[in-house]
């Protein structure tokens, strides 16, 4: 959709964008295409109850420029971008396009002003297909608003082919693993052909090759003269892709640097305010007895297809096993089946020698299994509950959190206070709803809950998804501590760096099977090849 079709919409009085559309830059741009537009946030302040999320922030992006926005969890990045996108109204301050203030009352104003956004927490309708999600709000129609399904599908196919974002337009979004949902969210933003695109942590669940593909997308958009804001907790990515890096801390912009002047260590220090250890210190593992034994396990996915196809492996006490692989190769089903959330079709799972294949999630949990699920908002937290309530979600029914039929809230609050402190959850208090926490802080609440007891087995999917470098350092050291204390650890991640940093042994999953086994020191290329279904077996150690 270009400026003209948008104009067409205005003329036909559609979509209610008439009022603001007259001020859209895209219209004027048609006449003065040479000129580079600038999007500007001026003196933006946003006060939430108890939190000053943005404190007099100024930020500009020009067309053809990539700005990376970095900052700790809860620094206010998402809030700032939501203001830019019309989702939040700022307490004060204004949004300007080329020095003209624009009314931002709802996202439709932002869309009319040529702004697109990839949201940190995906804005996808689970029961719609991929193509329905992509065209929603900008549907190709025939007479009487009849949706042209073919064009819709083609729109998805064109973009996924052009940018290497593979996804089937006809699958239902709820059947997709988060990695694929991420691709859908990106495709959706790209299909709108905006002048400015905001990417809020677009790479948090992408594999290295997908990240590379994503960078090509960004390069392409830049070459097309689009302005880009890119948010990530992976500092290397910011260094690689950005023209300018803006750093936020506690609601303020504290520094603005150019990639060539800084290193990852320097960026981390600017963000956190102290030097950060980017490499995990890890001693040699001392594997002991087998804790988790998976024997020939098969699991069906929601469509009744074999997602896990006869997998066998074990995890020993005192070792960390990493499962690498492109999302959607059965990892979700594997983890859900191991934790009792989803039944298996055949095979057996032993935990400490006991057959737990048909045990309930609570029974498995009670055998001291910690589980960090891949989708924090869907299966990790109860969003309309407070931090305290979420912290005791796994133990509310037993002493000391409950006394008979009565809850012991003071005990629960004490625990929440302690964990918030220990895991550095940035929040105005333990009684705020987790839904109001920033993404990374939500993740910390889950990790804190799961690790705060004696565990014999840790199963963690994307454990540090969306977490800032300072906190990753802490969570990684906690995982290694658990290992050294004798726990068996299973990490599932699409992020190879994380797998490599933590694992003593690496299994690569491809199409529901183990496509290769490596030790912790294997090279990225070897593993990457196996992840794409390449000849991994040959190198099995």
């Amino acid at each position: 959709m270009g400026p003209f079709s948008r104009l067409g919409k205005v003329l036909t009085g559609e979509a209610g964008q008439t009022r603001t559309a007259q001020r859209t830059p895209s219209v004027s741009r048609a006449s003065a295409s040479e000129k580079r537009l600038t999007l500007e946030l001026r003196h933006i302040t946003k006060q939430f109850p108890g939190v000053l999320a943005c404190d007099d922030v100024n930020l500009t992006v020009s067309e053809g420029e990539t700005v990376a926005l970095l900052g700790e969890n809860g620094a206010g990045k998402t809030t700032l971008m939501n203001i830019l996108y019309g989702l939040y109204t700022p307490t004060s301050g204004e949004v300007l396009v080329d020095d003209v203030p624009i009314v931002m009352e709802s996202p439709s104003d932002a869309i009319a002003a040529g702004i697109g956004m990839v949201h940190q927490h995906f804005m996808l309708v689970p029961v719609f297909t991929v193509s329905e999600n992509v065209v929603l709000g900008d549907e190709p129609t025939e007479v009487a608003g009849w949706i042209d399904q073919k064009t819709a599908r083609d729109r998805v196919r064109t973009i996924s082919a052009r940018y290497g974002l593979e996804v089937d337009p006809d699958t239902y979004v709820e059947d997709l693993p988060v990695g694929s949902q991420q691709r859908v969210e990106i495709i959706k933003a790209l299909s709108r052909d905006a002048n400015f695109v905001i990417f809020d942590e677009p790479t948090s669940v992408l594999t290295p090759s997908e990240v590379e593909g994503f960078f090509k997308i960004v390069e392409g958009l830049k070459a097309d003269g689009k302005g880009i804001v890119f948010i990530s907790h992976k500092l290397g990515e910011a260094l690689e892709i950005a023209d300018r890096i803006v750093i936020m801390r506690r609601g303020k912009t504290v520094a603005e640097v150019v990639p060539k002047d800084v290193t990852e260590e320097k960026l981390a220090e600017l963000m956190v305010g102290r030097p950060v250890d980017l490499v995990v210190d890890k001693s040699e593992s001392k594997p002991l007895e087998v804790v988790l034994l998976v024997d020939n396990l098969s699991v069906l996915d929601d469509r009744g297809q074999l997602a896990v196809n006869g997998m066998s492996f074990d995890v020993r006490a005192g070792e960390i096993v990493g499962i690498a692989g492109v999302q959607g190769n059965g990892q979700t089903e594997l983890v859900e089946s191991l934790t009792g959330l989803q039944p298996s079709m055949s095979g057996t799972v032993y935990l400490g020698g006991e057959d737990v294949t048909t045990k309930s999630p609570r029974a498995i949990h009670k055998m001291d299994v910690a589980h960090v699920p891949e989708d924090r908002q869907r299966s990790g937290l109860v969003l309309p509950f407070t931090i305290t309530e979420n912290i005791v979600l796994d133990s509310y029914y037993e002493s000391p959190i409950s006394r008979g039929v009565q809850m012991n809230w003071s005990e629960a609050s004490d625990r929440a206070e302690r964990l918030v402190e220990e895991y550095d959850v940035r929040t105005p208090g333990i009684n705020v709803l987790v839904s109001t926490l920033s993404g990374g802080n939500q993740q910390k609440v889950i990790v804190a809950r799961e690790f705060d007891r004696d565990v014999t087995l840790v199963i963690a999917s994307q454990p540090t998804r969306g977490i800032d470098v300072g906190s990753i350092e802490y969570i990684h050291s906690r995982i290694i501590e658990e290992r050294d204390a004798g726990a068996a650890v299973l990490i599932v991640s699409s992020e190879l760096d994380e797998i490599k940093a933590l694992s003593d042994r690496i299994l690569v999953m491809y199409e529901g099977r183990i496509a290769g086994e490596f030790d912790g020191s294997a090279s990225t290329t070897e593993i990457g090849l196996a992840m794409l279904g390449g000849a991994g077996e040959a190198e099995a150690s």
Binding site: A15, G16, Q17, Y85, L87, Y88, T89, S106, P107, S108, I111, A112, M117, H119, M123, L124, V125, P126, V127, F128, E132, N133, V135, L136, G137, D138, E139, T141, A144, G145, W146, I147, Y172, E174, K188, L300, D301, D302, R303, G304, Q342, P343, S344, M345, S346, T357, T358
Partner: protein, 426 residues
């Protein structure tokens, strides 16, 4: 229209089955039990050698004496045999996809065996019964469509009953004063107005939607009852609006059985058909439908793509109210041509049940409406036929059907994800 998920569940110690397979087992057992029941009660319960006669046309129709006579007992045996066969097939669990179809066929056969038993030694107008089914399904279907219009965008409407009742009342008065077409317009506008009230309470003031609905129902019942007693009982000329007369559709109306069932009615029934089909395709194939459903499933996502969540909600809730208004008009301007206190008698709530039974899909809702229509037709016609069943039990039929249906004979239905949740923008 996403198919149901199909992952395994555990059945007893270590045995793994899919939910569809487990359902098949349950349905299979139900079918076998029904087979035994039909054999025992309906087949053995009819005297040997006695016949049941089903009239297949209405008096004065083109093929006037179309009829079908069967031996009551033998029909019971045959139905029982088919049920046992179906049950056996379903229990084999080799084609779980067909479970629902087998259940549907089974239930229709049971209903038929029941009728044969009830009509044994007599003659029974089957077509009259099927025609009544269609007619009586209309208010339920319209109520269900109202609920569906609202819930698809995330607003729970339990005020359907009140909307039907008030619209029926206004339709009567306006219709009596200015003619039936004016009455129809008045009824539809009344529905729209009550829809708007619900919308403002639920969307703008974020009052609990169930409570808002209850309030509207109580208000509607109280107001119409009061006015009916005070005004209509005095001014009886305001309580005789006249009726829309039936129009037979050429050719189609002459088809035996189907003609009188579907194509020889007043315009309300034709409009209902059109609404059902139009809404079904509208909801699942058009921009309006996609946007509406997105608002009911994930309003935030809809907002981020530039859809005005509030506007979509207002619009659909008011449109839903208009459908209820139309349904209310049907009651007083087509069915009985006068208003009586609490004349809806729970149709709005049965409509809600039909909405769930029909899985929030217009075509499904129509099917559900037919089931409830059938239950009410059965109640009426059996009363005429004179069966050993006490009439109190007969009048319970529609409500019992409602309970059984909602208690989940038909599998698990999933409401829109944001159903009943106000959308709060920062």
């Amino acid at each position: 229209m996403k198919p149901e998920s199909d992952t395994a569940i555990y059945e007893g110690e270590g045995k793994r089955v899919t939910p569809a397979e487990r359902r098949a087992t349950i349905v299979g057992v139900i079918l076998i039990v029904l087979a035994v029941f039909v054999f025992w009660v309906f087949a053995l319960g009819s005297e040997a050698g006695v016949q049941s006669t089903f009239k297949l046309s209405l008096p004065q129709a083109r093929f006037e004496d179309l009829a079908w006579t069967v031996n009551s007992r033998w029909l019971g045996f045959i139905v029982s045999g088919i049920l046992a066969f179906l049950g056996g097939m379903v229990l084999r669990r080799s084609h779980v996809k067909w479970t629902n179809l087998a259940l549907a066929i089974g239930l229709i056969l049971v209903a038929f065996a029941f009728l044969t038993w009830a009509a044994s030694g007599k003659s029974f107008s089957l077509v009259g019964m099927l025609r009544a089914t269609v007619v009586l399904s209309v208010p339920v279907t319209l109520g269900a469509l109202t609920g569906l219009m609202c819930e698809r965008v995330g607003v729970i409407n339990i005020a359907i009953e009140g909307q039907l009742l008030t619209a029926a009342f206004v339709g009567t008065i306006v219709g009596s004063a200015w003619g039936i077409w004016a009455g129809l317009v008045g009824a539809v506008l009344t529905g729209a107005l009550l829809g708007a009230v619900l919308a403002v309470l639920a969307i703008r003031f974020r009052i609990d939607q169930i409570i808002a609905g209850v309030v509207i129902n109580i208000f509607a019942l109280g107001l119409t009852s009061f006015l009916a007693r005070r005004v209509l009982s005095e001014a009886t000329h305001l309580n005789s609006p006249g009726r829309f007369s039936p129009t037979k559709i050429p050719f189609l109306g002459d088809i035996p059985v189907l003609g009188p069932m579907f194509f020889n009615h007043n315009m309300f029934i034709y409009v209902t058909f059109i609404l059902v089909i139009g809404l079904h395709f509208g909801l699942f194939y058009t921009r309006w439908g996609l946007r509406s459903r997105s608002v009911g499933e994930h309003p935030e996502a809809a907002d981020t793509v530039g859809i005005n969540v509030y506007r979509v909600r207002y619009r659909n809730v008011i449109l839903g109210g208009m459908i209820a208004g139309f349904g209310g008009a049907f009651l007083t301007l087509a069915q009985v041509s006068r208003f009586e206190e609490n004349m809806t008698a729970g149709i709005g709530f049965i409509g809600l049940a039909a909405m769930i039974f029909g899985r929030w899909m217009p075509l499904g809702v129509f099917g559900a409406g037919l089931v409830f229509g059938f239950a009410r037709a059965l109640q009426q016609k059996l009363g005429i036929l004179g069966t050993p069943i006490p009439s109190e039990f007969l009048s319970m039929i529609p409500y019992i059907v409602t309970i059984i249906v909602v208690a989940g004979v038909v599998g698990k239905a999933r409401p829109p994800a944001a159903d009943g949740q106000p959308y709060i923008k920062d």
